[in-house]
Every structure is written in structure tokens, then in C-alpha cells.
């Protein structure tokens, strides 16, 4: 047997994170939807008022974080499958990591800055 006896001992965390983030989104989305529907009809002022409670803002930020974690783990799978040149793959990892981190900060800014 030429292969190393032990694997890289990685991959389980990413696989679980993808499932956990999907679960978080599946739980948060209907709750927010029900909350929004309960306050219908929503004009601009009503929509802003929806995000006044701290719990809603925290929930919304958690949703965005789960979405980005889900996208990030999925993106890494795509890069492993299709981008076999290490330099290019690392560069794409870096760029998407930056972009996703930026999205998270941006979401926080929207949620808290507009208050």
C-alpha cells in the first residue's frame, strides 16, 4: 500500500458546518417570515420597525453568518473539485474569504447602522 496510513484528519468539521448552517437557516427563515407576516402590511417605516428589537437584529446577523458559512464550505468543495492548480486555488480561497468576511461586516453595518 503506497497511500499514507492516516488521512489528513480534516473534512469532518466542514461537512458538519455545512449541515449545521443549513439547519440554522431552515430554523431562522420561517421564524422571521412569520414575524414579518404578523406585522403586515409593511411600508418602509414598518420594515425598519421590524428590525428595532435587538433579538431580530441578532437573528438576522446569525442568518447571514450561517448563509456565508454554508456558501464558504460549498465553495471550497467546488474549488477542490475543479481548480487543481494550488496557486490559483489558494488565491480564490483568499479572495472569496475576504469577500465573505466583508459581506458579514456589511450586514452588521446595515442592521445596526440604520437604527
Amino acid at each position: 500500500m503506497t497511500a499514507r496510513a492516516s488521512g489528513a484528519r480534516r473534512g469532518l468539521g466542514a461537512w458538519l458546518a455545512q449541515r449545521a448552517s443549513a439547519l440554522a437557516m431552515a430554523l431562522l427563515a420561517p421564524v422571521f417570515l412569520a414575524y414579518a407576516v404578523a406585522h403586515a402590511p409593511l411600508g418602509y417605516a414598518g420594515w425598519r420597525a421590524l428590525f428595532q428589537p435587538l433579538a431580530v437584529r441578532i437573528g438576522a446577523l446569525l442568518f447571514v453568518a450561517a448563509l456565508l458559512i454554508h456558501a464558504w464550505t460549498g465553495l471550497k468543495e467546488i474549488l477542490i473539485d475543479y481548480v487543481h492548480r494550488l496557486g490559483l486555488r489558494l488565491a480564490l480561497h483568499f479572495l472569496f474569504g475576504l469577500a465573505y468576511a466583508g459581506c458579514l461586516v456589511w450586514a452588521a453595518d446595515i442592521l445596526w447602522g440604520a437604527a
Binding site: 488521512g7 473534512g11 458538519l16 477542490i80 473539485d81
Partner: protein, 231 residues
């Protein structure tokens, strides 16, 4: 009955091509392999593997009309014509329908597909309860034809590093065996972004397995065991 068959002879230097054949109405299958044998009588250059001709040896895996099958147990009746026969996808072609299975068997050997038990051998045999034995049903029946692994896009993109459904099914077959004592080492080997986690569960393997086995479920069980071990 019309056929279009993949032909490639690396020694000729010519590019691979599809060759048309026709069998007259007198020919009565019933299986794809029967047609291949009849065509080979006419054109003895046509190369393919076959042995048991009853779906047990796993040597005549080919791609018929876009689907990986065993030629010997695939009825000709009902196949769209011209029946297109190609080698199993994404393995190097040795000649015509014969593929180089080296990568496939390298992954199979890598999962150590044998019992590892360091205790002294008992007088007669290592006993199992009927329940322990039942856990191996749906696992031991694999004939290593390669239909599942060559239908798997994860294997197509990383054939040198992803073990593929057939080897993963066998990895689980020995983890699940009550007589095997190497579960920890086997899990250590499998816990890897390439070897195991390339599997995205798209179930092509389940769809094509000529023995009706479920490698994706085996992968799920390996992952569940890894989670159990980690938490």
C-alpha cells in the same frame, strides 16, 4: 439491430471513433454481451472483457446508451437504437471497451479489504451472531465491476485521491464486521477531505449499481461514526 461501438487501438495511432454494426433479425440476444460476442465473431479485433456471463464476476462493465451496466445482465430489448456501447467513463482506455482499472483497484487495496484481527485464531472459526452477520448484507455482495465509481463525478475530478463509492462501500463492510478490530485505524485513514469527503451524496452510485447496493448509505454510516468519535 443497430449498434454504435467505441473503437480505439492505441497501437494504430488513430484517434478513437464510433463504429456502426448491424445484427440481422435472426439474432436473438437476449443480453448486450450476446450481441458483443456475435459481433466479435464477425470482427475479431473488437476487444472487451467478459468471463462468467451471469453478473457475478464483474468484468464486463460497459457504458450502454449513457448508463454504466454489466453487458451480460442487460437485456437488449427496450434499448434505444443504435445501441451505443462505450467503455466505462473516465478511466484510461486500453483498447476498445477495455479500461485500465488500476486506479480503481489501488483505492480498493488502500482500504485494506480484509479482516484485521490480531487475537490468536480460534480452533474453528470466529463466530458471529445472526444479527452481526446481518449487518454485512448489502455490503459483501459487491463484485467490483466499477460501474458506481466510474459514474461518480467526484471520482472523475479527483480519480487519484477520492476513493470512490466501491472502495468506500468495502471500507464500511470491514468497519461493520464484528470480527474486525481495526475500526480506529480505518477511520483514521478515511478521515480526509479527498478520500471520503469528496462524496456529495448525489447517488449516481446507487442508481447504477447492477447488484442493487447502496454505497452512499455506507458513506453516511462512515460519516456518522466519525461524528460519534469526534464528539
Amino acid at each position: 439491430m443497430r449498434f454504435s461501438i467505441y473503437r480505439y487501438d492505441p497501437e494504430s495511432g488513430a484517434a478513437p471513433r464510433m463504429q456502426d454494426y448491424e445484427l440481422d433479425a435472426g439474432f436473438s440476444g437476449p443480453m448486450v454481451l450476446d450481441a458483443l460476442l456475435a459481433l466479435k465473431e464477425r470482427d475479431d479485433g473488437l476487444a472487451f472483457r467478459r468471463s462468467c456471463r451471469e453478473g457475478v464476476c464483474g468484468s464486463d462493465g460497459v457504458n450502454v446508451n449513457g448508463r454504466n451496466v454489466l453487458a451480460c445482465v442487460t437485456p437488449l430489448a427496450g434499448l434505444r437504437q443504435p445501441i451505443e456501447i462505450r467503455p466505462l467513463p473516465h478511466l484510461p482506455v486500453v483498447r476498445d471497451l477495455i479500461v485500465d482499472m488500476d486506479a480503481f483497484f489501488r483505492h480498493y487495496r488502500a482500504v485494506k479489504p480484509y479482516l484485521i484481527n490480531l487475537e490468536p485464531e480460534p480452533e474453528n472459526e470466529r463466530l458471529q451472531s445472526p444479527e452481526e452477520r446481518a449487518r454485512l448484507d448489502g455490503l459483501y455482495e459487491c463484485i467490483l465491476c466499477g460501474a458506481c465509481t466510474t459514474a461518480c463525478p467526484a471520482f472523475w475530478w479527483n480519480p487519484d485521491r477520492f476513493l470512490g463509492p466501491a472502495a468506500l462501500l468495502q471500507a464500511w463492510r470491514f468497519i461493520a464486521d464484528s470480527r474486525d478490530q481495526a475500526t480506529a485505524e480505518r477511520l483514521d485513514f478515511l478521515e480526509d477531505p479527498y478520500r471520503l469527503f469528496r462524496c456529495r451524496g448525489i447517488l449516481n452510485c446507487v442508481e447504477v449499481c447492477p447488484k442493487g447496493l447502496n454505497p452512499a448509505a455506507a458513506v453516511g454510516k462512515i460519516k456518522a461514526l466519525l461524528v460519534k468519535r469526534a464528539f
